[in-house]
Symmetry: C2
Subunit: 339 residues, 2 copies
DNA sequence: CGACCCTGGACAAACGTTTGTCCAGACCCT
DNA sequence: AGGGTCTGGACAAACGTTTGTCCAGGGTCG
């Protein structure tokens, strides 16, 4: 006997529907006799009643679902983010709809239907290297329904980001501490906001040691493995190459490792490599990849909080997740520079 | 002016709500004058009307959402599956709710609320090594609401699986073709249905060459990297170890590679390794991992089809996805046996 | 010319909830 | 004893959609 409705519960308990609803929702504004309340609770339990979400959504004009849209689920970088989002959402009584296929990207029907059909109350958007921000904001009727993850800040839209400066600075400092002086940066595309911030942190750390980045040691080719390969080839084939590189993304770092190996460049003997973002796959390459662990789970959780707050009327904020602080995860790809 | 409702459209077009609904849904059973139909379409477009999903769900007793539950999103094995599911679902007018955190696992509140609150019409479940099938089926009021992915067959429940026998046989045959005669199997837990099937394929291929598996060369430790490490240590430390192993899972294969390296066993010089499932991460280790590519995307798509078919009254089927057929992706971890 | 049958569309019920309002009785007070 | 205040709960509207049924007018046919 599935599908017990509120009417069934009320009838079984011998009360009106409204009383049943108020009891089961713990409505504080209402006075019900304890014995009656118990009858309702018992009936609900007996019939294994669960509120129909469609009915509830219709009445409350709220679906209690939010969407998380990422460029691709394939990217290991986003798995921790996903976990953080899911856990915080569940804690708040929300479910998460995951959008990752291209048909769900901003600008597509799939994306806009999410909001216009009121399937979700809001969207968490992690933009890819190629998705343009204007495309999103213009298609949006209500800026409160969206929160950007790892991009921005954007006027009137809530954003949540990692402390990329500190992360990149920490990676750089790790190399400085090992004794490196010629340090390169393999960065994402110039359009990526995270890339800009990581370049800042990189420069800051260098400046703290009285150094400056050599632009021939810096690339902005993207956050993919092939991009990392290209970057490594570019940087290492020039005369007077760096003895170490900070890679802004772990996938690109895998590419750097592979290309260095192919070019006969010993890592970490002749070249140290450290990447921003820690994933378990960092154990796989030879040498295993030293990384800076960023609080991705907390990023996801914070993103949910900010979105929910904004939806319910809060102001657009630009949150930066600094807790827990970035930390170096030492593996095998970094060592002192060659003598 | 967001949130146009059907009533707004009807009013603007000067027709009744029912006519507006029928026109916009292309109801074939009804006769509307062409000019009237156009007025409705224009009004809908002008007001950028989109049907409210809560209202529709309530009326049709169907949410047009289905859930995909996997042990963890972190697992690269499942990313292609996710993509296949999402694309097929979208094509059928469904959205996908992703459940992965432990709070969403079978037996938890999160899981059962999905169905009892009618948030989703059905669930696609990829069980983990540890989730017990009984826990799921017992909590289920209606067997038509679920489809198992990669496990089963189970009585009265639709299942969809890969052709694991052929996949494992192909991997084994690849090693046989290279000239190997002592071939081991690093398998998943004995409780995993996929493991059983892959062991079958392994044995079949061996038998085809007039060989039999040596049980000292077979482990059933699980589908994780540490499990792979343990398996390798176990198999390789015994006297007269195999010259090649088939690993039933790519994560475990990474573990085998790492452990072999640590033990000083040369791959592929002294030991060839081939894994079932192809992921892009196979390029990362040294040597790069040879795999057998399985049709994961198609598995996801088929799972959606089967679930939707079952929901709408079809029989419980046990589908096996054989198209495209498994194929060896040759990288660097396999070679002829040592002389 | 009356009985029919189309055509094109309107009416209204129902899906399951939440929530504002109202009311009957019991109790209190002076 | 009469007016007032609580208590405990019932009534009903509304959220937006789909869909079964009904109906007025105009045409057709015998």
């Amino acid at each position: 006997m599935p599908m017990a409705t509120l009417r069934d519960v009320a009838a079984h308990a011998g009360v009106s529907i409204s009383v049943a609803s108020r009891v089961l929702n713990d409505d504080p504004e209402v006075r019900i006799r304890a014995e009656t309340r118990q009858r309702v609770v018992d009936a609900a339990r007996l019939l294994s009643y669960a509120p129909n979400s469609a009915g509830r959504s219709l009445r409350k004009a709220r679906s209690s679902v939010l969407a998380l849209v990422v460029p691709d689920v394939t990217n290991a970088t986003f798995t921790d983010l996903t976990r953080g989002v899911e856990e915080e959402a569940l804690r708040r009584g929300y479910s998460v709809l995951l959008g990752s296929s291209e048909r769900m990207q901003p600008g597509t029907q799939g994306f806009s239907r999410l909001l216009s059909e009121r399937r979700v109350d809001g969207v968490l958007l992690q933009k890819g290297d190629d998705t343009r921000g204007e495309l999103v904001t213009s298609a949006l009727t209500d800026h409160r329904q969206i929160t950007f993850v790892n991009s921005g800040p954007v006027e009137d839209i809530s954003t949540v980001a990692l402390d990329d400066q500190t992360g990149a600075a920490l990676a750089t400092q790790h190399l400085l501490d090992l004794g490196h002086r010629r340090i390169g940066l393999v960065n994402g595309l110039p359009t990526a906001d995270t890339g800009r911030r990581r370049a800042e942190g990189f420069a800051t750390a260098l400046a703290g040691a009285g150094l400056r980045a050599d632009e021939r040691h810096v690339t902005e080719l993207g956050y993919t493995l092939p991009a990392g390969r290209n970057a490594a080839r570019l940087i290492l084939s020039r005369p007077h190459p760096p003895t170490a590189v900070v890679v802004a993304n772990v996938n690109a770092a895998f590419g750097v490792l592979l290309e260095a190996r192919e070019m006969g460049v010993d890592v970490p003997g002749s070249l140290s490599v450290v990447a921003v973002h820690d994933v378990w796959e960092a154990d796989i390459p030879v040498p295993a990849l030293t990384t800076v662990k960023m609080p991705m789970v907390e990023l996801g959780a914070t993103a949910v909080s900010e979105l929910l707050d904004r939806i319910s009327g809060g102001p657009a904020r630009h949150a930066v997740v600094r807790d827990p602080a970035p930390v170096v995860v030492l593996r095998e790809s970094t060592a002192p520079p060659p003598a």
